[in-house]
């Protein structure tokens, strides 16, 4: 179907390039803010993630962690081998030969790797 038929307003939009540029900037800042926003998790999800972490620690399973800190979202996959509850740190073997430790509080999601 012709674009004129399906998007007549997109075809006739009158926008100054400077306005488009500002809107793109605005959209990017919204996206950044969205990425920085802490997701809402219910108790059930928290319990599931706790269970997944314990299973991974017990059976040396590979887990994909989604992390959120000041620099935004990132992901990390590896086998968690130690949980320091006092310091709130998770030690992960990423397979690179050098273990990585992450703050448990920065974990916003976990998924089993299988």
């Amino acid at each position: 179907m012709s674009k004129k038929l399906t998007q007549q307003f997109a075809c006739s939009r009158m926008m100054l390039p400077e306005h488009c540029g500002s809107l793109r900037q605005h959209a990017k800042s919204l996206m950044r803010a969205e990425e920085q926003r802490w997701p809402l998790t219910d108790e059930q999800l928290q319990a599931e993630q706790q269970q997944l972490l314990e299973e991974a620690l017990g059976h040396k399973l590979r887990v994909e962690f989604t992390l959120l800190d000041e620099s935004g979202r990132s992901s990390l996959s590896g086998v968690p081998y130690r949980l320091d509850e006092t310091a709130g740190m998770i030690y992960i073997d990423t397979g690179s030969g050098k273990p990585v430790k992450i703050r448990a509080a920065s974990v916003i999601g976990m998924a089993s790797y299988s």
Partner: protein
């Protein structure tokens, strides 16, 4: 299936309203925003409600407005300020829905289908929006509502603007009854030329058009005729997708010249400057274009002349010196040597710059490095920090236009 709830919010006399909001001493006075008459920008870009009540119209020459209303207050445009206000309004709309699509600087579509409607109904939500825009920006907003963007636009343009509550709703149920008696020029997409075309075949109202066979319109005016027929029926397949703003099909630049240009040398100089500007903007977006389009409008309003032609380039590029020979070729082939009032250049068929990195010669590499450095200098120190010496010659426009937005003061 639930009906869609689409709003078209239109800001009343936007530029003039922003000026009044910024300077409350103008409130209640007839205000008109207009450019500099000396540079042929002395036309009314926006007139306040008070000015409109005295007969002042958008597009009218400033001297004519002054004759109609000697105490009218003229204000120079501040384009960046208008963009900032438009963005503030977008941000307010985004508190209600994430599906907001600015259609122009003063019109925005909102899709509230499935969203929480404050006040419990679309009408209550619209009135709340109107109130919020007024209290936060000082601008009167009119809202048309429909089941698709076309109905919302028609509701706003043909009805909401005339109503005291600034809101009107069209739907599939009342669309025909309310819009079919309207003159054909009221239908979205029907311009002056199309009005003449329709009048020649006896179509004077929206209803007359709706009664014609769709096939006939398609045969006569192609897809445009078919879209107008659908508009007459209130049918529109458009959606309100905010990411549409990210798509850029072409980058172009059109300018009204400060006087009629008659000399070939002067016109070609402006074309070079505009090619440079379009290419710079294209490079800033990390794109290259495959088709160049040149538009020239004659100076004589009574005997319209000029042309609009496009040509595919041998290869996609954003290098002005690679494109300029094609521009010159089109210009010299089609210009009838009559004075020109406006020129425009655009580059379309855009692709990502990186996708095209084929092996190039040492000369190309040097040229590219030079362009990159020149762009960096302009980015850092401004458009006028580095330019062609030809821009100092009579007729050149680059220095006058630098720092302006849409040809008006930023």
């Amino acid at each position: 299936m639930n009906k869609k709830v689409i709003f078209l919010a239109d800001m009343e006399s936007f530029y003039a309203s922003v000026e009044t909001a910024r300077n409350p001493s103008l409130r209640g006075k007839p205000v008109a925003v207009c450019g500099d008459p000396a540079l042929r920008h002395g036309i009314i870009l926006a007139a306040s409600r008070e000015a409109k009540a005295l007969g002042v119209k958008t597009g009218q020459p400033a001297w004519e407005a002054r004759r109609m209303c000697p105490w009218i207050v003229f204000v120079h445009p501040h384009m960046q300020l208008y963009i900032d206000y438009s963005l503030r309004i977008t941000a307010i709309f985004e508190q209600f829905t994430d599906r907001v699509l600015p259609y122009s600087i003063d019109e925005q579509f909102l899709d509230l289908s499935g969203s929480f409607l404050p006040g419990g109904s679309p009408r209550a939500a619209a009135l709340l929006l109107i109130e919020k825009i007024w209290s936060e920006t000082g601008i009167r907003c009119r809202i048309g509502m429909g089941e698709n963007p076309l109905q919302a636009k028609m509701a706003c343009d043909c009805f909401a603007k005339k109503r005291a509550d600034l809101f009107f709703e069209l739907s599939s149920v009342n669309y025909a009854a309310l819009t079919w008696p309207l003159p054909i020029g009221s239908l979205f997409g029907v311009g002056h030329r199309m009005v003449r075309n329709f009048q020649r075949i006896g179509v004077r109202t929206v209803g007359h058009l709706a009664a014609l066979p769709r096939e006939m319109l398609r045969r006569r005016w192609g897809i445009c005729g078919e879209v107008l027929w659908l508009n007459a029926q209130g049918i529109d397949y458009s959606s309100v997708e905010p990411e549409q703003i990210q798509e850029q099909k072409g980058i172009g630049h059109t300018a009204t010249l400060p006087r009629d240009y008659r000399k070939q040398q002067e016109i070609e100089l402006v074309l070079l400057e505009m090619t440079e500007e379009v290419c710079q903007r294209t490079r800033r977006h990390q794109k290259v274009g495959a088709t160049i389009h040149l538009y020239c409008r004659g100076a004589d309003f009574d005997h319209p002349s000029g042309f609009s032609r496009q040509k595919k380039l041998p290869e996609a590029t954003a290098n002005a010196l690679a494109i300029y020979p094609t521009i010159l070729k089109i210009f010299r082939q089609h210009w009838d040597r009559k004075p020109l009032r406006a020129v425009g250049i655009s580059l379309s068929g855009l692709t990502d710059y990186r996708q095209l990195r084929l092996p190039f010669s040492a000369r190309d590499a040097r040229e590219e490095a030079l362009i990159r450095v020149a762009d960096q200098v302009r980015e850092r120190f401004g458009k006028t920090s580095l330019f062609r010496a030809s821009s100092l010659r009579p007729g050149a426009q680059m220095l006058q236009r630098a720092g302006k937005i849409g040809g008006h003061d930023a």
